[in-house]
């Protein structure tokens, strides 16, 4: 009798495991974020039944090796989403806009890394640590935010959740990989040319306050994304927030200097903020012993799942403000990891 019960339980477990196992597609599988997504699917042991990788005509036919397995990269075609449960899009907004309806029509749920649908009121824009509840309202598409927005809000969340915010000012230090494989390649070429004593062009020995196109008000696309996406994710449509987004000559890892002000009094103390972040323990890590050289830096967060928060101090130019410094891996939490975490919530 006990053996029978155990057998039934095992059978149920296998069935429930099988029913949650997913057929996955990655569109843009050969790009920087796509590659990291495949890696993370294996690292995090995502309940995977089958995976299909897609890329543009130039990359189709390639074989990607990951975790000891080989995967053929297929070209984009009409029946690509047949039998797919979750389709990750790690391509540009234009391609997302073109292919997402196809995926949806095939019954797949789209998790989109592009900016195509983020501000669509019918599309949830999700950082799972912050607003995973929003996923429920999806109508076939869920958007993952811009890399800098994701890293900033993940790092600030314990403070935002407890105290809210009356103003945020952020200046970013964004790596080349945020601009895609082409930019990384160009930068690596420039570094090599520098060592060879040749003219390097503007990618080496330079910083560039220009990420994405400028609008009539002089804000770059990246700056507008940080402002608008933060307001949507936090459900604070009037949050006063100002961003300056800058490309710095490093390969991987985004950092940001943040001045945040809180409503009310008494002022939030650095000690209080540190304790909240230390105890939160969900996607972030406190690194705040500057005297011992401990603060967030790209080399501390690349290939890590957490965003690091440190350099927490009183902003003496405000009655209730703090300065903070946050670093995170733009290809992981800023892109592939956040998208995968959304899928994990779905699964």
């Amino acid at each position: 009798m006990r053996g029978k019960i155990l057998q039934n339980r095992l059978h149920l477990l296998v069935c429930s495991r099988r029913s949650t196992m997913k057929n996955i597609a990655i569109v843009g599988a050969t790009g920087l974020a796509g590659r990291e997504l495949l890696k993370l699917i294996h690292l995090r042991d995502f309940p995977l039944r089958h995976i299909k990788l897609f890329a543009s005509q130039q990359s189709a036919g390639r074989v990607i090796r990951d975790s000891g397995q080989s995967f053929d990269v297929q070209s984009i075609r009409g029946d690509m989403f047949d039998d797919i449960d979750i389709a990750f899009f790690a391509v540009d907004g234009e391609l997302s806009r073109r292919l997402a309806p196809l995926a949806r029509a095939s019954g797949a749920i789209v998790i989109d890394k592009s900016s195509a649908f983020r501000m669509d009121p019918h599309v949830p824009l999700v950082i799972p640590e912050i607003n995973s509840d929003a996923i429920r309202a999806h109508a076939g598409i869920i958007a993952s935010p811009n890399c800098s927005t994701t890293i900033m809000l993940t790092g600030l969340w314990p403070l935002l959740e407890r105290f809210g915010a009356s103003r945020i000012i952020v200046s970013t230090y964004q790596s080349m990989s945020g601009g895609g494989a082409g930019l990384v390649e160009g930068f690596e070429k420039s570094v090599k040319m520098y060592v060879e004593g040749r003219d390097t062009g503007p990618l080496f020995n330079n910083v560039t306050p220009h990420i994405d196109a400028f609008d009539a008000g002089g804000n770059s696309g990246e700056e507008t994304k940080m402002v608008e996406e933060s307001r949507k994710i936090l459900a604070m449509p009037d949050l006063p927030i100002s961003a300056t987004c800058v490309r710095v000559p490093i390969l991987r890892g985004h950092s940001m200097a943040i001045n945040i002000e809180f409503p009310g009094s008494p002022p939030v103390s650095p000690e209080e903020a540190r304790a909240l972040i230390r105890d939160f323990d969900n996607g972030i890590r406190l690194m705040d012993e500057p005297d011992h050289g401990v603060y967030p830096m790209p080399i501390n967060t690349n290939g890590e799942e957490f965003c690091a928060v440190g350099r927490i101090r009183k902003d003496t130019s405000s009655s209730n403000g703090l300065c903070l410094w946050i670093s995170g891996d733009n290809l992981w939490k800023g892109a592939a990891l956040n998208a995968l975490q959304i899928a994990e919530k779905l699964a």
Copy 2:
């Protein structure tokens, strides 16, 4: 009779030129700022009678070539300032503190690039475009501000002069040369190691929010300098100002993202600010056509005497605020050029 008058006039001209010609010493002549100072003395045709170069024991005996001439580097010794009119100090604070009294006792006026005397109430802290009048009150020592302070205030001055400021928030992107020749050498080594596929250490592929030692409040020395020196130069002892200072992996040129708020109303418009900066024409240049790729960057300001100001836009998180982006050559306006401009005012 006319010939006689002309001859007298010429004689007077020669005498007056000769009487303003100066005997100069550069202490720290083999360092990055010292080398640029020697170059600028020639480039700007400073009224020079004689120049002596000094450096530490290790560098003494070297020969420096500049503008087709050779200069012996002498070691520091008791009679080094005999006959010197102006002694430039481009060394660390400790050495400045030790040698400045010696220079003063010999009758030389010290122009000090270190932080040793900047906050001394008896020492003028001078950016000539802003407060050259302060030079008059000197008692043998005049201090030149920290590189980031100098570049920020030079860039902001037309706005500060016209509107004042009720708050300044700045995040810096500072180059390796701001940390001296040793840091530049370490960075160049790291770049080479990267190209060779070896482990690079923390100077490559990284940004570091740590310039100078931290105080009990968690501010770095560089951040405190930007705050305190700005208040002194502007004679605004209570100015609310907050700085985050960050080293980025470039060789030369400091940049900074600035949010500035102004008192009163109506708000200062970006157009108004642009016009003021365009017309100021004293040490700064407007570079603000982002749609055409025109904005300040290190590659636009290295080896230039101006600080560049651009990316001027409304700070929508404030009722009367602007965002700006400033770049400047940390070795020129941030160091050697500002010191030389002080000497030119003296001469």
